[in-house]
């Protein structure tokens, strides 16, 4: 039987999750995730196609408030916590190439 989780699976998921991992972590996660999913085999085996899924324990309605301006977080206090700031904004690395 093929392993439940391959190294390539782990690398793919790490990319989706924006996590840089090294080769040792690839092997470690492959084994640990497989063990956890093996434990979940009990529910994989259940025949419950007709059961509706529950995403949330209590039904609740969308909550709307009046569309009025009110106090909000202080901009300087918020930006003071950011790792890089420029001209009152969050600064990030280059997103587009020079040519674009």
């Amino acid at each position: 039987m093929a392993p439940r989780i391959t190294g390539d699976d782990v690398r793919h998921v790490a990319k989706l999750a924006r996590l840089r991992i090294d080769d040792a972590e690839v092997d470690q996660f492959a084994g640990q995730l497989a063990a956890i999913l093996d434990h979940a085999a009990d529910i994989e085996a259940l025949d419950i196609d007709d059961v509706p899924p529950t995403s949330h324990p209590v039904p609740f309605d969308n909550v709307l408030r009046a569309d009025e301006s009110g106090p909000c977080l202080d901009r300087d206090e918020v930006l003071a916590q950011a790792p890089h700031v420029e001209d009152g904004r969050f600064r990030v690395p280059r997103i587009l190439d020079e040519a674009q």
Partner: protein
């Protein structure tokens, strides 16, 4: 130490005792024992003294500071405190000072309570031992070579060791009840939506709920009453104001229908002493006038599997926000994606990475239906099974944890073994209902045993009545030696 919040607040409100002296005594206890216990990540000495002086000024001016007047409260460090470091025990938030207070913090202050410090937790509340902290493990006040449970182990240990009469935790799969059990204190997971989650750093949003730790049932009710109720800043908070709770707890259990859940009591690996404590609890309630019978909630046996797909799936989404842009750590990279990935690799610990990976996998194309989708259907089965059980019973009993506190390091190498600690507590989070853990006594090695009382959503009143009857019946009065009490 180990005083009751109820007595402290009464004395402070009456002007018989200063809030300042209460705070000073508790800060002295922190200084005395927290080097060994390591419950706190950040002690709010100056802030707490200033808040106490303000309470005393108000009492002197004839004002009533509120039901928690002068009572120190230990806050789990995943609740936002404005201008005060809030880390979630993670390097990724080290040094971060939130620009706002969590609703629960506002309400504690409004009731006269005094935040005395931020307590240790498993990183982002993911764990059952408070060993997964970037800032070191917390130790169990009853035995320093044992874990306090988790993830709210810091708050549980702070209350058990007499460093704070009250504590606040969050419970996603047992993170209040299990450490309460292992530390010999009362811990409550209220109904989902009872306590606002505004300012609680999210782990799994459909499961997370804030609740109290206390030295006894009445103190737990007092704190819950002070923090619960609707909040416009949390769209999932229950809009109906709750009825007063403290006045309910002494109404007894005459006629209360109690069920002992077989599937959660005869779990694999249960300690025989824990098993027999549940039987003792059933007998005590029967003696107090309740009717007791066996209950069955068959699908709870799938709870652990469903939880360890649902909670990581929600966590993988919630923790996407730690991207090195707006707050916390940043590790530079060649481009945005590289910066994100390098920051998250450096900032998250192993358990958080594991759950992000598991959750991302369970939600990814090709696996969604088999894992996350299936788990959501199992959640429905468990909700339906509990609903059937609550047609026959008002409250349900089980152990809180299959074992008492285990040695530090005993389960850190095998994630699945650690996950099994939560087998009795997880089903309640999946259903959104409420539960409390109360201490029944000590095992042969002197470690506390906890009993879980469960009730349906909004069933806090009968749940607290049963918990109070058990507390009276067990008459558990021991405290750890380092809390200054007889053990």
């Amino acid at each position: 130490m180990s005083e009751r919040a109820f007595d402290i607040a009464a004395a402070v409100r009456a002007g018989e005792r200063s809030a300042r002296s209460v705070v000073d005594e508790h800060l002295a206890q922190v200084a005395r024992v927290d080097g060994d216990v390591h419950a706190f990540l950040h002690v709010l000495g100056d802030e707490a003294r200033a808040a106490a002086d303000e309470i005393d000024r108000r009492v002197a001016a004839g004002e009533d500071p509120g039901p928690l007047a002068g009572v120190p409260v230990a806050l789990k460090d995943n609740m936002c405190t404005r201008g005060i470091p809030t880390t979630c025990s993670s390097r990724i938030l080290e040094g971060w000072r939130p620009p706002y207070d969590a609703t629960v913090v506002d309400r504690i202050r409004a009731a006269g309570g005094i935040p005395i410090g931020k307590t240790n937790l498993d990183e982002f509340a993911m764990g059952s031992s408070t060993e997964n902290s970037a800032f070191g493990a917390t130790r169990n006040p009853w035995a320093l070579d044992r874990v306090p449970g988790g993830s709210s182990g810091g708050s549980a240990a702070a209350v058990a060791a007499g460093m704070a009469p009250l504590g606040i935790g969050s419970d996603t799969g047992g993170s209040i009840r299990q450490p309460a059990s292992l530390c010999g204190v009362v811990g409550v997971k209220p109904t989902y939506g009872r306590v606002s989650r505004y300012g609680l750093i999210a782990f799994a949003s459909s499961l997370d709920q804030i609740g109290p730790f206390a030295g006894d049932v009445r103190d737990a009710a007092l704190l819950l009453e002070s923090i619960w109720g609707p909040d416009a800043r949390d769209s999932t908070s229950i809009p109906t104001p709750p009825d007063p709770l403290v006045q309910e707890i002494d109404r007894g259990v005459e006629g209360l229908r109690v069920g002992v859940v077989g599937e959660l009591t005869d779990v694999e690996g249960i300690d025989p002493e824990v098993r027999s404590a549940v039987e003792d609890a059933a007998r005590l309630l029967e003696k107090a006038g309740a009717t007791v019978d066996r209950a069955s909630v068959p699908s709870t046996t799938y709870g652990l599997s469903a939880y360890y797909l649902i909670a990581p799936a929600e966590a993988s989404s919630n923790l996407a926000r730690y991207d090195g842009v707006r707050y916390g750590l940043r590790v530079d990279g060649p481009d945005v994606e590289g910066m994100n990935a390098a920051t998250r690799a450096a900032g998250f610990g192993a358990e958080v990475k594991r759950r992000i990976m598991l959750g991302t996998y369970a939600l990814s194309a090709g696996y969604y239906d088999a894992y996350y989708g299936k788990a959501q259907k199992v959640r429905t089965l468990i909700i339906d099974d509990f609903a059937r059980a609550y047609e026959r019973f008002d409250v349900l009993l089980s152990p809180t944890s299959p074992t008492t506190a285990f040695p530090i390091g005993a389960k850190t190498d095998d994630p699945l073994t650690m996950y099994l600690c939560d087998v009795c507590t997880i089903p309640v989070n999946l259903t959104g209902a409420c539960a409390v853990s109360i201490p029944s006594g000590l095992d042969a090695t002197g470690l506390p045993i906890g009993i879980q009382v469960m009730a349906p959503a909004l069933g806090e009143a009968p749940m607290f009545r049963a918990a109070k009857a058990l507390e009276d019946g067990f008459a558990f009065a021991a405290t750890p030696a380092l809390a200054g009490g007889a053990s």
